[in-house]
Symmetry: C2
């Protein structure tokens, strides 16, 4: 018995390369090693098949998260950014096409925005905790900082293959992004007593 899963995986690979219109049932059948008619017997139509691809993809994957009790922002953010880079890199091929197909297919729209708000909110929440504990500057714009962080991750994951020499080497990228990010928010480790210290500049 042909695994429904096997067809879904093959369809995802073909969709990732060719997009909706380019993912012909013939290509998908070949990729899955099944007869074309089996696709229709299993899923009913190409649209339903590809909808199932987007619906099942990542449905149960745990989103990277940040700790409730910040201890070491540098280490914690590094782990978070690394996980996020991995995550978005994996999704990239699907994301590229869903972003372009939003107007034509609702499931593409849903897929393209999945989890983005959650990641943003998680970072904002974390940054607020840092501020409360004196581990980040009080006047840092945490909403925009979160946008900057997710934007950088997205840019690296989506565009590195297009302009590779612009991005830092993969093995150091997260580290360097976090380092710059911490400068932006005045991030630091917890100190014995909350030190009320705000940076002043002539700008």
């Amino acid at each position: 018995m042909i695994s429904r899963e096997r067809i879904l995986e093959a369809a995802a690979r073909v969709y990732a390369k060719h997009g909706f219109r380019g993912a012909t049932t013939r290509l998908i059948a070949i990729e899955a090693g099944v007869n074309e008619v089996t696709l229709f017997r299993t899923f009913g139509s190409k649209g339903a098949l590809l909808e199932a691809v987007l619906g099942s993809n990542r449905a149960d994957v745990v989103q990277p998260h940040l700790p409730d009790e910040p201890q070491d922002p540098a280490a914690e953010l590094l782990e978070f950014v690394n996980a996020n880079l991995e995550h978005v890199r994996e999704l990239r091929p699907l994301l590229i096409h869903t972003m372009g197909e939003i107007d034509e297919r609702p499931e593409a729209a849903e897929f393209a925005c999945r989890g983005r708000r959650m990641v943003h909110d998680a970072i904002v929440s974390y940054l607020r905790k840092l501020q409360q504990r004196g581990m980040a500057d009080q006047d840092a714009d945490v909403e925009v900082a979160a946008v900057v962080l997710t934007g950088t991750v997205m840019s690296d994951a989506m565009a590195r293959s297009i302009v590779p020499d612009v991005y830092p080497p993969r093995e150091h990228a997260a580290e360097r992004y976090v380092s710059c990010f911490l400068r932006m928010i005045g991030g630091r480790k917890a100190v014995a007593a909350p030190v009320k210290k705000s940076r002043t500049r002539s700008a």
Copy 2:
């Protein structure tokens, strides 16, 4: 006499909505208000038409630039970021599809990376000048800072329509991005004498 330009513009609009495969010659002809055969008489083939679209699009547009002599980083970067946001927003519909079609069409690959390196290098160069003049921290990672800035712009331009409430309101976005960016690099206005001052932190 039908303007070749008119066909190109219509084709760009159709391509921006539907991608390469979805931009049928029928749709393009309707959009341009010409007979389908005219497309072939003018351009020879659909591929050549859409190649011409990507080749002509932005061929002569001036890239946003930064001044050779920095005076006021906040103002200069604000202008630069605003211009870049505009620029990438305009290109978004075409970018979305070209990014997904890179493997299949060389002109899509060329289009997707056009200007990106230049923008990156311009920012790096500018930041270096800031450092030389004591207007930015000596230890700021200017390469990554440039990546962060272009990544933020790209993220805003590409994904705002998908998760709108995550991004700051449009009229204030550039201002807030620049503000955070300046914090990251320790950016400030020129002072009377270069002050050698590096920030130390407990992190």
